[in-house]
Subunit: 201 residues, 2 copies
């Protein structure tokens, strides 16, 4: 019912996550009716981002530089290396604010069904870093899913072969969470991973 | 925390209606990590749309053509002209499916506070059409808001001066709506605009 180019725009906007046909139509109308400057800026920024943004040569996070600002920051502790699944995970850990080491971004997890193997996750690059750099501890912060755990296991074994200490971030009841509302799997894990409070005797 | 270009992209995505900082970040990560082809297509389509899409010379709806497909459709009834506030309103009426006339899109409503006057709504073009074309009835379908009603009044007077019959679409309780959940203003309007069912006597 709209003109072909407007229909193209609505269809293109639907590629955005969480955007259905109604939202896409509302977005198209808003951009064309109310804010063409913003639409033009979005088009230009998106094109530039697609062209320029690649991966950091050291940690594989998304960046338009050869090496990202985190890897370039000499004040970060080079003895700690934290493995995460996505660039958004780096942001989440940085916002928590108590980790001051370096990162390595897998861009996913091992998934034989989807054909994602160690090479896709840059495990060779990770091993080279463990061999070349003075890494004292590899902290694995993949997600506590079946695939994330399998990936953590795989990387832990590779790192052990390199003679590097390996740890896994803790999983359990979130701080401030109420037991009543925590799912059974998390609660079971919290019991199995309990730490001594007072050893008795 | 992300690179400057990624931050630019997140900021540009926030111009979309209903997209806050978290959604914008999720969209940027999705486009860069999972679907660069879609991102490139969105950028190109958006740029083309901003460049090419203007207004139909007859009805003022958004289109990349000089005259839109609806105005060009000789099977539409040229005796009925329906005035709406937005191109999305045209779509809504077309989807309802029982109107077969032509349209005129105001792109807004009269709003002296925002400096929106008759010239911004193309009222001069509307009057020219009423003078030149065999329009038998002007149907005003502006929104039932204070501004929409004032705009309807204004246009009705202009059309009357042109000697054209003018009507306003009905407002009241939506079909299938339950009285219990209808707001008081709509209900009051529905009572005032009641139609005779059986005249007695
Ligand atoms: Zn880096
Ligand atoms: Zn038209």
């Amino acid at each position: 019912m709209f003109s072909p180019l407007i229909e193209d725009l609505i269809r293109a906007l639907r590629c955005l996550p969480g955007v259905g046909p109604k939202s896409a139509q509302r977005m198209a109308m808003y951009l064309l009716e109310k804010d063409r400057d913003a639409a033009g800026l979005l088009a230009a920024t998106l094109e530039l981002a697609v062209q320029k943004i690649g991966r950091c040569g050291l940690c594989r996070t998304l960046t338009e530089e050869d090496v990202c600002s985190l890897c370039n920051n000499s004040r970060r502790d080079e003895k700690s290396l934290c493995v995460v699944e996505t660039p958004a995970d780096v942001l989440a850990i940085e916002q928590a604010g108590n980790y001051h080491g370096r990162y390595f971004v897998l861009h996913g997890h091992l998934s034989p069904i989807d054909g994602v193997g160690p090479a896709d996750l840059g495990i060779d690059l990770l091993e080279r870093r463990l061999a070349d750099e003075p890494v004292g501890e590899l902290i694995i912060a993949t997600n506590p899913t079946v695939e994330g755990e399998a990936t953590a296991q795989f990387i832990a074994e590779r790192a052990r072969a390199c003679g590097v200490a390996v740890s896994r971030i803790a999983h359990g009841v979130p701080i401030g969470g109420e037991l009543e509302y925590i799912d059974g799997g998390t609660l079971a894990h919290a019991f199995n991973s309990r730490t001594a409070f007072y050893t008795g005797g």
